[in-house]
Amino acid sequence: MKNLMKISVLGFLVVFLFTSCAKQPTQQIDEAKAAIDAVVKAGGDIYAKDELKKLNDDYNAAMDEVNAQSKKLFKKYGKAKEMLAKVKADADSVAQLIPARKEEAKNNAIAAYDEAKAAFEAAKAILDKAPKGKGTKADIEAMKSDLAGLEAQLAEVQAAIDREDYFGARDKAVSIKEKANAISEQVNAAIEKVRGR
């Protein structure tokens, strides 16, 4: 009987040691958080918005698991550790995606800027060919003023690229290109009108 008591205590002790003494996985928590922070810092909220949302959700789910286990008498953090390790691994993968996406957005913005600038220069060159000085057609004069507006907006595109707002820069550049092309067409029409007089 005495032995049975000893064995029982020993048994409970073994169970206690295996289940209750598990520590919170603080190191994994910190690592997962740091990995998500790195994604944000790299521009994840712009270039990996959906992935970042999933990472945060997965992190919250892992933390829910940690909290749930911490309230239990017999704590098992194995699942939480796995979840946190996955969050970290996923975050690292997302962080690796961002530079390429950012680079792509930058290249697209620069290409759009170059196209807009080329369209602007083309319109300017056509305007330079238009009749000058006294007798200049009023509509050509108006288009010269319009080009001044375009030039101001082109500078805005460059400023947007400089502050790494690549999507904004691209949008503006595309609009400038459209307007510059429209001006070129109008100038050509005006020149034709002059020739036809």
């Binding site: 032995n3 049975l4 064995i7 029982s8 020993l10 048994g11 409970f12 073994v14 169970v15 289940t19 959906d50 949302k53 959700d57 829910d64 909290n67 749930a68 309230k71 239990k72 008498l73 017999f74 098992k76 000085g133 006294k134 007798g135 200049t136 057609k137 009023a138 509509d139 004069e141 108006a142 003023s145 319009d146 080009l147 001044a148 507006g149 375009l150 101001a152 907006q153 904004g168 949008d171 503006k172 595309v174 609009s175 400038i176 459209e178 307007k179 007089r197």
Partner: protein
């Protein structure tokens, strides 16, 4: 034998303890509503819950967090004692709340879109009015760079709206509004004389004086109205011909000095007929007259113009085309100039005014708010 019994007992106790104290394979599955709520929360976030219904979305998130805590509490219980009834009910409530947030997001998005579209529409209407006015003025367009920028931003707004980027679109509309205000202010400043009833009365009196003179003397007179871009010939007080004309690059301004590209205002006369020039036939007027010289000297004295600035001259009514811009002369289409040339003798009075219309288009468009 004794040791064997002890080992069996130890294993039995450990197994019993593990089964009894730890949740294991007996755990019933969590209600399906838990996963449903998770998916709903992601969808609401993706739809912009925190932007379009921040308060309601926050409340929803709190309810969801509370439901999850209740789930955790339930999961702490030993398998056989767990009852997910309340948990399921909690999550159902959360889902219902989420559905309300979803419909709120939809309606707010729709109303925001409506607001943006209506703002875009009204700004575009204003843009068109100013754009047309600046084109109709047929002179150097100081307001046009602002209008061209606004036009580019309108294109951006459309692209942003198509991509459901409402806040950015709203930002661009604010920029457009500011550009249009600047353009309007430039036009207002440039054209304020055309909205001044005292000035219009003075111009009207000048034109009436010329017509009266024609009536009394039977003489031919010319009245040029700059805003309307018309040159009207009167004989014995009767209007016999009206032509459309072009003016200087800054034709709506009153000429003050050489190189200002403005068309002079005042009472002049034809002093020379030029049979052939670069711009077809020409009728030279006696700019500067006494009044012009007086204005010029005053401006110089006040320092408005430099001491080396000259008053200019050689202002003509000539051919070359009514849709051309000049350095201050009045231009007609060649065919009409030929006709006018025949009609007008040397000494014909020429009165040039801004406008005689007290309800002119500039007042209509730029009337003070």
């Amino acid at each position: 034998m004794k040791l064997r019994k002890q080992i069996v007992a130890l294993v039995g106790i450990i197994a019993f303890s593990l089964i009894f104290f730890t949740p294991g394979c007996k755990t019933p599955p969590a209600p399906s509503e838990v996963e449903q709520a998770r998916l709903q929360e992601q969808a609401l976030w993706g739809a912009g819950g925190s932007v379009f219904a921040p308060e309601e979305f926050q409340k929803y998130e709190s309810s969801l967090a509370e439901a999850r805590r209740a789930l955790e509490r339930e999961e702490l219980k030993i398998g056989p004692f767990r009852n997910y009834g309340q948990v399921r009910e909690n999550f159902r409530q959360v889902i219902k709340q989420g559905e309300q947030v979803e419909s709120l997001i939809k309606s707010r998005k729709a109303s925001l879109l409506l607001e943006i579209e209506s703002s875009r529409e009204s700004l575009y209407a204003k843009y068109e009015v100013l754009n047309n006015l600046s084109l109709q003025l047929n002179q150097r367009g100081y307001a046009r760079p602002h209008l061209a920028q606004a036009d580019i931003l309108f294109k951006e707004v459309d692209r942003l709206l198509a991509g459901l980027r409402y806040e950015e679109a709203r930002g661009r509309l604010e920029e457009i509004s500011s550009l249009l205000k600047q353009a309007e202010n430039i036009l207002r400043e440039q054209l304020k004389r055309y909205m001044d009833q005292g000035q219009i009365r003075q111009w009207r009196q000048m034109a009436e004086r010329a017509i009266e003179k024609s009536k009394i003397s039977g003489q031919t007179v010319i009245v040029i109205s700059k805003l309307e871009r018309t040159l009207t010939v009167y004989k014995a007080g009767q209007q016999i011909k009206t032509y459309q004309v072009g003016l200087g690059f800054n034709g709506l301004n009153d000429k003050l000095h050489a190189g200002d590209d403005a068309t002079p205002e005042g009472e002049y006369k034809i002093i020379k007929k030029i049979g052939a020039s670069k711009y077809g036939k020409g009728l030279l007027i006696d700019y500067p007259n006494e009044e012009d010289i007086k204005k010029f000297n005053e401006a110089k004295k006040k320092g408005y113009i430099t001491s080396s600035t000259r008053i200019g001259g050689l202002i003509e009514i000539h051919g070359g085309g009514k849709d051309g811009l000049t350095r201050g002369c009045v231009a007609l289409d060649d065919k009409e100039m030929d006709e006018l040339f025949k009609l007008i003798p040397i000494g014909t009075p020429v009165t040039i005014v801004g406008t005689t219309d007290p309800n002119n288009k500039i007042i209509e468009i730029l009337k003070p708010v």
